[in-house]
Point group: D2
Chain length 366, copies 4
């Protein structure tokens, strides 16, 4: 059991790729907050399929129906439930997968875990489609965070071997993130898109796929959010981010790079910037001892290439107990990174908002 997240809010995500519907319940939201549904819709549209040449053509309206928790658009203190109908489902595509697990997918392990009863259609509950309710819940949290002047935004660092620059981790601002969100492509260097798109379309032409890296920034956090040991910001954000399918690594601040540095290079010096204490550099990625330092929180998540590729692959047949070739039918993104950007923001928002609500943080916002 663990499609549930949070200590102060409980986010419970349900549904399978081909079940009647998918959705989410958010229990514990504060009452009396206006929720902007149009803004949520716009946020969710960023992860919707079929939006561009590099995404799957499976088109779904994916309009969440809010069945509880709001009265006249305002949170009423009751759990907020949003449901998204699964309308455009072609179950036939997936029949063979009952017998032959797709490499790099959850199929094989899910089959064993659930004694063969797992919903194999489209990956069932493991489908990336479940990021739709994740994005809905994240969008709600993003709005509530914005009320506290906390902003979260992500961009594509790399697709395949095409690399964009990283955030200016010292000076990243809410305005930067807002500008980023308004762009057609979540890139710091928009002109790189053509090159990235080519990497993706080349892969598709080769019946293949590519991966990439997404960087996320969080600004506006007061100093001191997060809890020691298992409840630190790195702990909680990483727990949430690995809920986004295809993530295989996460690093905060300068991340893996710090392992080759000396302390004198890696430590970030404190200084007074007017009345406020800041650090001159931000190798620590805004987190010290698990707690927010007041500097921008920066992390990067590595996404593996889409496992579903059109090339023939080697797998096994459960029924025949022997090796076999598998050709995956259906429509699949050759690169999930673009659509994953709002998912990363959403997952981070769940973790951050849940931490912000921790009972002992009240004074940090005074």
């Amino acid at each position: 059991m663990s499609s549930t997240f949070g200590n102060n809010i409980k986010v419970s995500i349900f549904g399978q790729s081909h079940s009647e519907a998918i959705g989410v319940v958010i229990d514990g939201l504060p009452a009396n907050h206006k929720i902007d549904l149009a803004e949520i819709g716009a946020f969710m549209a960023r992860r919707a399929p079929g939006q561009n040449s590099v995404s799957t053509p499976r088109k779904e309206p994916d309009i969440p129906r809010i069945v509880s928790g709001l009265v006249d658009g305002v949170t009423c203190g009751a759990p907020l439930c949003a449901i998204i109908e699964n309308t455009n489902v072609r179950s036939g595509d997936y029949e063979k997968l009952k017998d032959v697990p797709r490499p790099a997918h959850a199929d094989f392990a899910a089959r064993i875990k659930h004694g063969g009863a797992n919903d194999v259609r489209g990956g069932g509950h493991f489908s990336a489609r479940l990021t739709a309710p994740l994005c809905f819940a994240g969008a709600v949290c993003l709005q509530l965070l914005k009320e506290k002047n906390i902003y979260i935004g992500a961009h594509i660092c790399s697709i395949a071997n095409v690399k964009d620059r990283l955030f200016d981790s010292v000076n990243l601002s809410a305005a930067d993130l807002t500008r980023l969100a308004s762009r057609e492509r979540p890139l710091l260097t928009p002109e790189l898109w053509q090159e990235m798109e080519k990497a993706v379309t080349d892969a598709r032409a080769d019946q293949d796929s590519v991966g990439g890296i997404i960087e996320c920034g969080i600004v506006g956090l007061p100093v001191g959010i997060g809890e020691p040991m298992f409840g630190g910001m790195e702990n909680r954000i990483s727990q949430a981010i690995f809920a986004v399918p295809a993530v295989k690594g996460i690093e905060f601040g300068n991340g893996f790079e710090c392992a080759a540095l000396r302390g004198s290079q890696n430590n970030d010096a404190f200084y007074y910037d007017g009345d406020r204490i800041r650090t001159k550099t931000n190798n620590h990625g805004g987190i010290l001892g698990g707690l927010s330092s007041g500097m921008p929180v920066i992390f990067r998540a590595a996404f593996k290439p889409t496992p579903s590729i059109a090339q023939s692959q080697q797998s096994v047949s459960f029924s025949q107990k022997q090796d076999t070739e598998l050709v995956i039918q259906g429509r699949h993104d050759p690169c999930v990174v673009l659509r994953a950007v709002p998912c990363v923001e959403a997952a981070a928002a769940l973790a951050v908002y849940d931490m912000v609500l921790d009972s002992n943080n009240g004074n940090l916002f005074a």
Copy 2:
């Protein structure tokens, strides 16, 4: 609140660097299991200070006193509590830190969070000393996992720029891990120790410190351990691993490297190895869709260089509201990586054992 971990066991770690004692309560352990205290002692000795030229000379016996939960060395179903007295404490060293936070430490954020009431001595609850009870709890879980033929072991991948090779992720065996644990240094290539030691002693000579990377392997897991979404193995292991101080990144399988690969390169082909289904490669690091695949689970954690260095550093004085120089007194490891190896194993063991206990996994061990 979050010095507590686990859904099926509850591990609650308490204490500060200079409080009277530190310790841990483990609630939810199954009854009727013999605990080998000598083995725990040997495990904990691997993280104890003062063991070699690259570690802090602060020597402490760190012998845990088990005050509850065992009867004649056997778990009795009651919470297991172990206490470690803090005996070798020189509080005077840390007086100045109340006013001047140490760069790259939790001091600054903790002070703001706790309104100045945080225990500044030695980092208080944020001290790496708290890894002693973490190791105790992990050692208990390691023994209980071993009963199920699940083994966890880690080695140093790199210190500073000295790199060892990685695990053979396809063939890693319990025997490999046992052999590794028996070595004086947790290295796949023991002869590299001299070079690593030199990197550390050079840094110390420069009043500096170095970081490194630790790789951990888990073998013997049946297929299907882990839960979807927020409860996957990556989610839970990373939540636990970031409890080890100085960790700034984690990656599973080929991790960040996968972002630049194509699906056809990254996907691991299934095949029948006799009756058992395995993958030919293990880029997925033994985890698919958050579930164990039956292949060795492999992850790496990046450790930043020890923040406490003897060089003068720039910081701020709270009392004088201005920038100041800080020279850290006291005894500090110029490299935490060696002592962190058992900590990584311990944190992983907490996460894995907690997942193994999940109510729906009973049949996986049948």
Copy 3:
């Protein structure tokens, strides 16, 4: 936040009396169990409104739509979500309640708690209508418990001053509970129904309402279910039962009566009944030290009379800041006890099933 229950399953109930829909997500159910939806429908019909002369005439089909978690009627390991549309809603009835709280209802406290944003229509999330998804979730758990030969059944002990006898707590059997469930009225002495019905109709004639007591029995539990201290069977069952609206007390075994007894009268002697150890009496209600003793678990819950009565009552006007008279419009049960019987069974089933799943109980079912 707390419309969520459970450690091993997570039951998350959502909806308001007059929201678009209500429902429940059950995360953590084991895969590969057939769910009998017709049986669930029959169970839920027992709490449905409009079924007899003593219940509210508001009729709703209340047929749950299962949108996820089942494939061909079998649990697939994904969260099970059931949704019940709110079709027969007359919002106009409740307009005045925004200003004048109903005595003995949650209105007043909910308004203050939620800063006036609470959904006042029909009591919002506090409405007894939310027992529909509670019953759905409970019905699922009852089926899974039945697979383990654990049976739960309840009967009306009293309505107003009309009292039925209590369960034979020593000999209560699954057959007894099955027979009880098959009766039109959940009474040990069915002929008392006429008298009870008269008490209710008399109250209605007086624009009044009545309360009552429900007794619940659980048979088939192995010895040892439950955890110490805060996780005992009494703790967990009572936490669940107070989720049923109008419950104001709960007692186990001989309950409050034991306070006036001597130990020699109250202690239940152990004896061998063949190979099995039982107690000669069952004052302890099948629970010792929070753990099941193997004897039938017995508890009683007291229900207050329906707070919504047609008589004019004294309340206050928030807008006018003065006392006022309130006449409640709408359709209300003059006695909730009859419809509450399946709710008690359902709430008990959630608690018991969640405890049964505890990781350390595997051997108790061997």
Copy 4:
């Protein structure tokens, strides 16, 4: 697992009657609060054994040693751990109990649950001795609640058949509770003590024991504390109260009595008392829909007579698989009610303080 309580604080109680020590860890306490240890000592002395003619003569200092979480008597944000050594232990008394379970004790069920590995000495983790750390944790919470002007106090309603009057549930004040706490005996009618004492000494003379009822009041709560459904005040308080050994029932407000009343009798009319809305009567016991109504919260808990009596009792011998006589040696309270009064206050304090900390209650204290 469940010797752990709380959502916003985590209270983890450890130890057995005859383990080396018992204690508690409280994680999540806010920093910067002065803790009055003398006051805690005085509170704990009220439950200490050996204080009067009706309690067990086993004398223990029971002075908790605080090993972490306080710096100069002020909470520092780290988990607070208190340890109480078990010094006066006579293990020999309990040898026979390994084979013959004591009627009405946890022995039998614990033995089966833990496969014979349970700590049988003095009841192990099920011993009433574990109420010492419970009282410690409760005393801390009581102090923190007092800072918010919330007071909790309990009195003996009855011992055997000797009954005191109940609280004036409408007018109960903090002053009333303070006066009560200052009395030698927690009675509203102190002169009844003699009669109660006689009932106990008579029972002891008969090698028997007696039960009783404790009533608890909570004043000063703002309107709106508590959460819907499973998180209501009744749910959470009852979950905590059943952690006190020997409790078999709990009722709020007029409790079981309400079941025989009509709505017009039971409903509590709202009225303006100056600017404040109160109810004229308090049958609801200060809780409506699970939320505090602003009226005093009132509940009663029924305690069974001490199961350990000196009379010979019938039990079974596991080893001989036959019925046998049991004569319990050792020192036992013939009535636990007097010592249980602070335990009830402590358990209630844990639940109330945890609810008060809920993230959405901040505005209720503004």
